[in-house]
Symmetry: C2
Subunit: 478 residues, 2 copies
């Protein structure tokens, strides 16, 4: 806990955050400031990710990266700077991204002959290399991922959710057939993104298909994971796109098939970003701060020495927990008031707090505090490891379960556009896609409501928006 | 080995690289192309790091990151874009970096009111936040690191060694006293950088102090790790700077000391970059390609099935090696000629090659080929794990030893400037700093020779360039 600042004096248990019910957006900003997650940067819309916020992101990276590698993709790195002309090669893509571009016109003390854009996403530059690397069907599938920063000039920036610069991974693949590309886009959606979000972030995302209106610029199909936040709004947490042959034709990615014909490759791209940190805050946070799911938590347990006499036992307990595989920190700063340190651990959402005080110790006990439900219980010193492991397991499940209950309780079944708009005041609406259509989508948009995704009646992901009986999930979104 | 391209036909064992002795720079470019490490990007001086090159970088990151965290620093992330005015606040710093800046003048379809620079390094923006975060001596030391891309417009780019955009880590710290800052800059130099370079990269770097001429723009002292490459030139592999109070004064980083006085913080910054990949290639590579030290290698052993009958035994051996903790890949692509696959593993410098062929198998053997010394030996199937582990250990030591022998053999003891320049035709020269001085340094510079570092007679790092009896290492450098 070396980086925990102890400047702002916290008077015992007085609320340090605006309550969610009073002003959710302000609560969100308060959590980010008080849990020391991030700051605004000096250039409008940029952010500084502070050590605790970055530790959350590093854990997300590690979990997502392992799943991407298990899906067969390899990491690489492509340049930040893209010649402006590259962007123009795919018509819809340039139209979608032009208003958001940052452009370097001067470098090395001179005006550049051709301006370069700072990547808003890397389809154009990566596919220009795929065109060199792909010659034969033997070179396919080509499965590449990169972890990088990207820049999109935002008119209404919001920290973590919509920032001018953000960190993400972007996967780019080329396949010999449409079916293979389609399968891979779905594999990433389910095995990488939804698996991570449900089982690690404990956010029960809905997976579905975007409507044409909401599709990525240049894609033939966008698949999405949508999470419900604490205020009932939706957050797009990750997307996986089928690009068809759009970029392959724009960049000349051709291969000789096994029957000797020259064909254009079929492609996908997919990404998740630091926006997920915003989703984590808003999906699980409460009036006392963050609640971090144990499997994600960079610090799963903190052992606090209440007074000097407890320093040695606290240190020993931290060692025992570490040896049991728990990501643990010992907070031995007895020169800082105990209440302030406890509030700080609570703000940061550390799942288990082991409070080691002389009075409890005299009876052979410590106090185990669980962040998810706020329960406090005495635990014998010898039982701390087992109790902590049990709490971490139970609270991972409890967070997912309570997020699922909230989501299900806040989805209204409706049959008219007016009712759908009404329902999005406090949650999501589910409506037959046939009762909505693109015209209905326009009416929703006029009220700042959007179709988050289309799903089949059994909850699976449709192959087309023209399938019969599709359901649309409709919401206000971040 | 999924990403290994099999396009370029390699005719048995004909050399695929320009021999080092014929043209070292061309050999370097050949290795980068044939081992599929990197490509040039479309914007001059940028590079694409291909999967195998990136895997080397990921291993470097993991090893360096663990050492940085052990030294107490925490990762964070600061914006890519810095207001131009920030750069101007530290006079030497702006003078050093101005000629290399890339400037964004337009964004979101409009001209910006104040141009922003793409970070060439982050002292200015990070220290503007340190000024907010540091108030009391209790907030110190503040130890921050970031992994990021930076941009410096290069006139003579060279892939990995000097690129317009490169990847690095940059550490930035603030301390309550000059002594504490000085100690930390040295701790990073020795415990993070030199330890990693010697014990993982197997490059016996010299550590020393830069002369005033070679100092980082804005620093009061620059410490460096210098490696000798295969052609006898020097490569600056990493630097650690004491910044004194220069940035603290420019950005107002003040704290209340334990005696209640307001004081400016003392600072350090330090970094290593993708340039180390270039150092790895040039320090250990030979006419057959890369030689990757086992501790670094993303793939420590590859098990090659020579023919179809060997696929199953090869797969089993790979599993046994993986279970023994070896980073191993099975190459079961029996539809690709075996010779081509063996050459490819050699080009990529994979330390151990286990060749599994039907003839050897009939006798209960496989062939174990060691990349470092090129030896081939039959090994009983049941002894492969032990033989591989032994080879990995021995070859890590052998690479370091041979690099140390080359370095020591190529350092000439000289006493005149003319002899020093002469010696740098094939290696380094060591000369008394008193025989050189700043005037001598100017004469060397006129011949494109530089002082790489100053050390004490016992090899330790001096606290000042005015200490008596200092020795200067002099070389041509990348």
């Amino acid at each position: 806990m070396a980086a925990v600042s102890s400047r702002a004096p916290v008077s015992s248990r007085a609320p340090v955050l605006t309550p969610q019910a009073e002003d959710f957006p302000r609560w969100y900003q308060d959590v980010i400031a008080k849990a020391e997650l991030a700051d605004n940067g000096p250039v409008r819309g940029t952010m500084v990710i502070r050590p605790y916020g970055y530790a959350l992101w590093e854990r997300m990276q590690a979990e997502v990266d392992a799943r991407i590698k298990a899906a067969g993709a390899q990491n690489a790195y492509f340049p930040l700077f893209i010649p402006e002309s590259y962007l123009r090669r795919e018509a819809e893509h340039v139209e979608g991204f032009s208003p958001e571009l940052a452009v370097v016109t001067h470098a090395g003390g001179k005006q550049l002959e051709e301006p370069v854009v700072v990547r808003p996403t890397s389809e154009t530059i990566i596919n220009s290399f795929f065109a060199k690397w792909v010659q034969s069907y033997r070179d396919l599938p080509l499965l590449i991922n990169q972890w990088a920063n990207v820049v999109r000039w935002e008119l209404r920036p919001r920290i973590f959710l919509r920032t001018t610069e953000f960190l993400w991974q972007e996967g780019h693949t080329a396949h010999a057939s449409q079916a293979d590309a389609r399968d891979y886009a779905r594999r990433i959606l389910h095995e990488v993104y939804a698996d991570f979000m449900v089982n690690v972030l404990a956010i029960p995302v809905l997976v579905g298909r975007k409507t044409a209106r909401e599709r990525f610029a240049g894609a033939t199909n966008t698949l999405t994971c949508e999470g419900m936040m604490g205020d009932g709004k939706a957050l797009q947490m990750g997307t996986s796109h089928e690009l068809g042959q759009n970029f392959a034709k724009a960049f000349g990615i051709e291969f000789t098939s096994d029957s000797g014909l020259r064909e254009h490759a079929w492609q996908t791209s997919w990404g998740v970003s630091t926006r997920m940190v915003g989703g984590l805050i808003m999906a699980h946070g409460d009036d006392n701060g963050l609640r971090v799911p144990p499997r994600l938590a960079p610090v799963q347990a903190v052992v606090l020495a209440v007074k000097d006499e407890a320093v040695e036992p606290a240190r020993n307990l931290a060692t025992a927990l570490r040896e049991a595989g728990v990501r643990v920190e010992a907070d031995l700063r007895t020169d800082t008031p105990f209440g302030r340190r406890a509030v700080d651990a609570e703000l940061k959402g550390i799942p288990v707090r082991v409070e080691v005080g002389p009075r409890d110790l005299a009876q052979g006990n410590v106090t185990l505090v669980r962040r998810v439900d706020g329960t406090k219980a005495p635990v014998p010193v010898g039982g701390v490891v087992a109790a902590t492991l049990a709490a971490l397991d139970a609270d991972q499940a409890a967070l997912l379960e309570s997020a699922r209950e909230r989501r299900d309780a806040r989805i209204a079944e409706v049959s008219s556009i007016a009712d759908a708009i009404e329902a999005t005041g406090s949650g999501w609406a589910r409506i037959a896609w046939s009762a909505l259509g693109e015209e209905g989508e326009d009416k929703l948009a006029a009220q700042a409501v959007s179709v988050r995704c289309l799903v089949r009646p059994d909850g699976s992901v449709p192959d087309s928006e023209d399938e019969p009986d599709l359901l649309a999930y409709v919401a206000r979104a971040y």
